[in-house]
């Protein structure tokens, strides 16, 4: 369960869901920033050295697809994991992000996919991440 303390940005309008996800990721060794909507998420994304983003799709104001697009424009290298409560999302949205998964797939799936993202990201850098347990 040892992590290097990557900074993860979680964006979701679901208050409870966001809170639980933050605890889950922190217990998994990450540092976590949270934002309740797309706009504040983008601000944090711009100002903080975020390693990866866990983004909710259905949000008021600006949906996850739009947020992901702007993040890609700003920092194209930061991996984005799009979470959605909907079963099917438009192709142009799912192709924009690195990983797309449905809410309810469970914590192990989220952690493993996030870990994969960061390790493949690390592989492109000298300080390659070590394999997850």
């Amino acid at each position: 369960m040892e992590r290097r303390g990557h900074l993860i940005l979680c964006v979701d309008d679901e208050v409870v869901g966001l809170r639980v996800r933050k605890i889950l990721l922190e217990r998994a060794g990450y540092k976590v920033l949270t934002a309740p909507d797309g706009r504040s998420g983008l601000e944090l994304f711009a100002s903080e050295p975020v390693a990866a983003v866990v983004l909710d799709y259905a949000m008021p104001g600006m949906h996850g697809g739009e947020v992901a697009k702007r993040m890609r424009d700003a920092k194209p290298d930061v991996p984005i994991l799009l979470l959605s409560a909907y079963v099917g999302l438009p192709d142009e949205v799912s192709s924009l992000v690195d990983v797309y998964m449905t809410k309810g797939e469970g914590a192990p799936a989220l952690l493993s996919k996030l870990g994969d993202l960061l390790s493949s990201d690390d592989a492109s850098y000298p300080q390659a991440a070590q394999a997850r347990p």
Binding site: V16, G17, A58, M59, V87, K103, A107
Partner: protein, 580 residues
């Protein structure tokens, strides 16, 4: 026409002339008779003269001479008469007068003188001379008489001739007149018979036309794709076409004269109660009537078909009701299609909701799953109570949503009391995701305890449809207002249908409905949403509301853009199956 009359007149003139001829001949015969009579009288008078003279000659008594003198006087008179023009052509008396004069002067007067003088007159020679004189005189008279008689005979013959001619003429006239009458009547008869024949031909032609027109009508009736039955005013069947035969299972020949109810037995699809006969209904209302909805025809073999029917009065020229015609058709397939469309729309509503519901369920489920993972893999005593609380409240959300979703499908058979506030809040819960996603500014005015009777699943479907429409119309950052307004019947209001119930108003701030669509809003497959809509939502909603005896309408907002949907629902609805 003129010629026969002229001929008749000519014949009549001939007849008159002949009659006149005959009449003059008769008068000529009478003249002859008178001449003969006169001549005979003259002869008798000469005999009287002779007799008187003889008596005086024998007796010498002047009294015996009296016939002589008397006859002499009468003779002069008779001779005058014979000479008068009254007896026709004058008779040649000269011979007789000479002889008579000769006798009188030569014999009679000397004899009288001699007797008077007392002389003897017995002398034979003298008397013989007198007798000769007398015979000659009589001979002359006889010539006259014979001449007259001969002429009379000739005249009688002429008369006979004339009578014969007259008979011929009369016969001819009679014949001519008879012929004329015959000819004339024959002409008249011809005219009458011609007129009769023409009238007959006309009638025949009209009959033929009538027959053809009736055949035409019959063919039309027979070819009509709908069943047609006509009844008299007592409700007995007069005619039915082939489709009617097929639908009822009765042959026209068997059904004719039977009461309609026997052949055309109709019941309500759901209640199984006999539906009022269209004949009775038409007689009661005197106008075209439609059949109650959800009517089922029980065929002769007891199988059933759903029918749609209308009845209309048949009136004569005076406007009296002389029968009833019914037109009906098999709508079994239509009803099935209708049912399929309803099911389809319910599925579409569910499909549209599925995404929202997935969102609403997956969010709490995700939290619960994460919490369970934490409790399992990283158990910390200080977390436990807090995590379990969170998990429970998240699960409660799921349960609530799933119950609201189930409400869309659970169908109750009879109307149940429905709290409008609860129901609408449940629907809003299901739609929360979408309302949230579009930043809809939602205001609602939902007073508690407004309860109406209805079918919960169906009403949820109506509200889901209307609120979804409002949300989609309002669009991003738009606003939707939902109001429930209880309606109470005013005690002072005039008698009428009860108005106890509620009005549900859903107002959006959208662009409004295009005018060209507005009239067709409640028709199936009409949509303003392109590929996204089925075009069945309002159609189904209207069916549901109308079934509950309520009403639904959409109107542009008066105080701004957008649309207001207004639904009226009665507290205690009279069910109106079929909703039409």
């Amino acid at each position: 026409m003129v010629l026969p009359v002229v001929a008749c007149l000519a014949l009549a003139a001939v007849l008159v002339w002949q009659i006149r001829n005959a009449t003059s001949t008769v008068s000529l015969i009478e003249t002859s008779d008178r001449r003969i009579a006169l001549a005979t009288r003259v002869e008798l008078l000469t005999i009287d003269e002779e007799t008187g003279l003889r008596g005086y000659q024998t007796t010498g008594d002047p009294r015996f001479l009296e016939p002589y003198t008397k006859a002499e006087m009468q003779l002069a008179q008779a001779i005058d008469e014979m000479r008068s023009p009254a007896i026709g052509a004058p008779i040649d008396l000269s011979d007789f007068l000479i002889q008579h004069d000769a006798w009188r002067k030569g014999f009679a007067e000397p004899v009288i003188s001699m007797v008077h003088a007392g002389g003897q007159t017995n002398d034979i020679a003298l008397n013989l001379a007198g007798k000769d004189e007398m015979d000659r005189m009589r001979g002359a008279l006889n010539v006259i008489i014979q001449g007259s008689e001969q002429r009379r005979t000739e005249r009688i013959r002429l008369w006979h001739q004339q009578t014969r001619d007259l008979r011929v003429a009369v016969t001819m006239l009679a014949l001519t007149i008879g012929l004329l009458i015959a000819w004339f009547t024959r002409d008249q008869l011809h005219a009458v018979s011609d007129a009769f024949q023409r009238a007959l031909d006309r009638e025949k032609l009209r009959g033929k036309e009538l027959f053809e027109s009736e055949q035409n009508l019959r063919t039309t009736l027979v070819s009509i794709g709908d069943g047609v039955i006509t009844c008299d005013t007592r409700g007995c069947i007069q005619m039915m076409n082939r489709v009617a035969e097929e639908l009822t299972g009765w042959a026209e020949s068997e059904a004719r004269g039977k009461p309609l109810d026997e052949v055309f037995a109709i019941v309500n699809e759901s209640t199984r109660q006999t539906v009022e006969s269209p004949v009775a209904k038409v007689q009661r209302l005197g106008r075209v009537v439609g059949l109650a909805n959800h009517t089922v025809l029980i065929r002769r073999d007891k199988s059933e078909i759903a029918i749609d029917d209308s009845g209309a009065p048949i009136r004569n020229e005076a406007g009296d009701l002389i029968g009833i015609v019914m037109v009906f058709r098999d709508v079994t397939m239509e009803r099935r299609t209708h049912a399929a469309l309803l099911a389809n729309e319910r599925l579409a509503v569910a499909g549209r909701l599925a995404a929202t519901i997935a969102h609403e369920i997956h969010n709490p489920l995700d939290s619960v799953a994460n919490l369970l993972y934490l409790l399992q893999h990283d158990p910390r005593p200080e977390d436990e109570a807090h995590f379990l609380d969170l998990a429970q409240s998240e699960l409660a959300r799921v349960t609530q949503i799933s119950r609201a979703m189930l409400g869309l499908y659970r169908e109750s058979r009879a109307p149940v009391p429905i709290d409008l506030k609860e129901t609408i809040e449940e629907v809003l819960l299901l739609l929360e995701g979408r309302i949230h996603a579009l930043d809809i500014h939602l205001t609602s005015q939902l007073p508690p305890d407004v309860v109406i009777d209805g079918f919960p699943a169906e009403l949820r479907q109506v509200f889901t449809n209307l609120i979804t429409n409002a949300i989609e119309a309002a669009g991003k950052d738009g606003s939707v207002r939902i109001r429930v307004m209880p309606q109470h019947k005013l005690p002072s209001s005039p008698a009428g249908p009860p108005v106890d119930g509620a009005i549900i108003e859903i107002t959006d701030s959208g662009p409004g409905i295009p005018p060209d669509v507005r009239d067709r809003l409640f028709q199936p497959f009409v949509t303003t949403k392109g590929e996204q809509g089925t075009g069945l939502g309002l159609w189904v909603s209207q069916g549901i509301v109308r079934k509950l005896g309520g009403s639904i309408d959409l109107a542009p907002n008066v105080d701004g853009p957008g649309t207001t949907a207004r639904v009226f629902l009665a507290s205690k609805p009279t069910l109106n199956p079929g909703g039409e």
